[in-house]
Symmetry: C2
């Protein structure tokens, strides 16, 4: 089968790899119909993450069960499913707590040991617990499938940021970062009832999506200017801040502007973020830092129900669609910020 | 009157200063009967905090109202009171939320502008909201007064750490630090129903107090050895970690050992703590960091009720009592770790 393989900085290639196959009875093989390129894929693409040549890429995908292992009880050939970006056993202490990303038997797609989502098929371990089954009627509803696909990562991650930041009905919320996760954070904050949602970003196309998603204000300044604007606009800071970037500047902004007693919900994979933490202010004003790798499996049913009911549609984050052979072009477009988020349609 | 004044590294002196007096109608003058030396006083005493010669010291005190300003409604001459380590107006947004340390009209005792607790008397601004009135019958009950005095800071701070760490009935709790705040953290965790309380400390006298306060286990290792022990003893880390020191090593221990999905409640004033944060692990395992300057005013009534009912007694943290003239000796004893916590009895 064909799949995307990392070869080095700026170099991913679609090439032949061994076919995905059931290895353990709890495995299923998913024929991929839709996948994505993620902002976090850029960390290895840009050489900032310790990735090895030969590793497989892609952690966001949906598709159709092609083969279910003998131990799989809830899924059968032909079922449509989507996959959260981590697989999990559903039974350990952390899965039971809704923290499937810390599953004792789980792991992540791609890398050295697993199939990645940016390929024709994926061996999905622990299929019963991991994969989320879709109603049969969505199979040919491309519009709905596009709206479901972000639940594999960015929509669940934006929701996690909003929960960790403590967004409540009526809250004033800041979202730092206008990537797909930040935009989904706007949507999640609106869904949770925020009264004001201030997006910190400066790309016109992204600002347009943010407005569609419920952002009530946009601040284009960065750094200390952005903090000053936020404190002024909100008379002391937003109650909840969603940090959706993960670098030093974004973390400094988030912790610098949050209202005393509030919380920063951080979901941007931290690269340099530690230096940005304004720990002195956080301590003095009791500002909490909560977040991390989003357990999107925990949110799957709740968010899926809203998508199926027509109440939630994160699909506007996709502004470029490529075929499998053009995945490298998708990376390049994301890297150049020419695309917010790339869908791979097989 | 006499009061303690900072003169430089390792140099505090008890000397004559202007008498405390009512300046604004909302002020009261408190004649101090008991005060303390705090672990956080050592930051300036050791030259680690930017303090200026001439600044007044002490932020923990109790005493008797000597004069109440014309605007004071709930207190009168002769009332016994204790003072939280910050004063606050009781009416602003943050006071109403129970975050009096972020009070828009508040401040801290001592320093350049206010009387400090380590003196004969204190002008207490915003007396109605700040000072906590004691029942008349405790006035001559020295044992009870000793048990109330830690509510000015260390007991409320330990309680804040436990709340921020999310201590719940049945929880497994780690307390990093065996100073007075750490010991009060042990007591607070027991009060909140923790099943296991593991103290990380190595001083026999402090360990003895911790055992009296409810610590079920003691770990004397530090650093990565301590983390390994904690992970092993608890099969993956304590649910709640109270960080009661504030330096790089203690924060590395706290964030390194906390169970996935758990929280570190930090109350040690951070000096170097930022470098110790294991942010990569916190992100990967969704470990929250919550805490800061404890709003001990918010906890005063609840904790006082337990002390008066005989259910809470943090007084064993005091292992040295000095008179006002001997405050410098109290600092020296704390600095040399010869005393856990010093009471100043006037």
């Amino acid at each position: 089968m064909k799949a995307t393989v990392f070869h080095g900085k700026g170099d991913v290639r679609v090439e032949n790899v061994p076919d995905a196959a059931v290895v353990r009875p709890s495995d299923a093989v998913v024929r991929v119909t839709h996948a994505c390129v993620c902002g976090s894929d850029l960390w290895f693409y840009r050489g900032d993450a310790p990735w090895e040549p030969g590793w497989r890429t892609g952690h966001e995908f949906m598709g159709v069960i092609e083969e279910a292992g003998a131990g799989v009880r809830t899924l059968k050939k032909g079922d449509h499913v989507f996959a959260p970006f981590a697989y999990s056993d559903g039974t350990c202490e952390f899965c039971r707590k809704g923290l499937q990303t810390s599953c004792l038997g789980g792991g992540y797609w791609g890398g050295a040991d697993n199939d990645g989502g940016q390929g024709e098929a994926v061996r999905a371990p622990l299929a019963d617990a991991t994969l989320v089954k879709l109603p049969a009627e969505v199979a040919n509803d491309e519009k709905l499938l596009r709206a479901i696909l972000p639940l594999t990562d960015v929509m669940g991650t934006g929701h996690h940021a909003a929960l960790c930041a403590g967004v409540k009905p009526g809250a004033t919320v800041a979202v730092v970062g206008d990537g797909a996760v930040g935009l989904c954070g706007v949507l999640a904050a609106r869904r949770l009832g925020a009264a004001r949602i201030i997006l910190f970003g400066r790309h016109p196309d992204r600002i347009a999506v943010a407005a569609e998603f419920g952002a009530t204000e946009v601040v284009q300044e960065r750094g200390t200017d952005a903090v000053a604007r936020a404190l002024d606009m909100t008379a002391g800071g937003p109650d909840a801040v969603l940090e959706c970037v993960g670098n030093e500047g974004s973390m400094a902004m988030a912790t610098g502007m949050c209202r005393p007693g509030g919380a920063v919900g951080y979901v941007g994979v931290p690269y340099g973020a530690q230096q940005g933490l304004d720990l002195r202010r956080m301590f003095g004003e009791n500002i909490a830092l909560r977040g991390g790798v989003a357990p999107v499996r925990a949110y799957a049913e709740e968010l899926l129900a809203d998508v199926l009911a027509g109440k939630l549609d994160p699909s506007p984050v996709f502004d470029l669609t490529v075929g499998l052979d053009d995945v490298p072009r998708g990376y390049a477009a994301m890297d150049a910020r020419e695309a917010i988020k790339v869908m791979v349609k097989l």
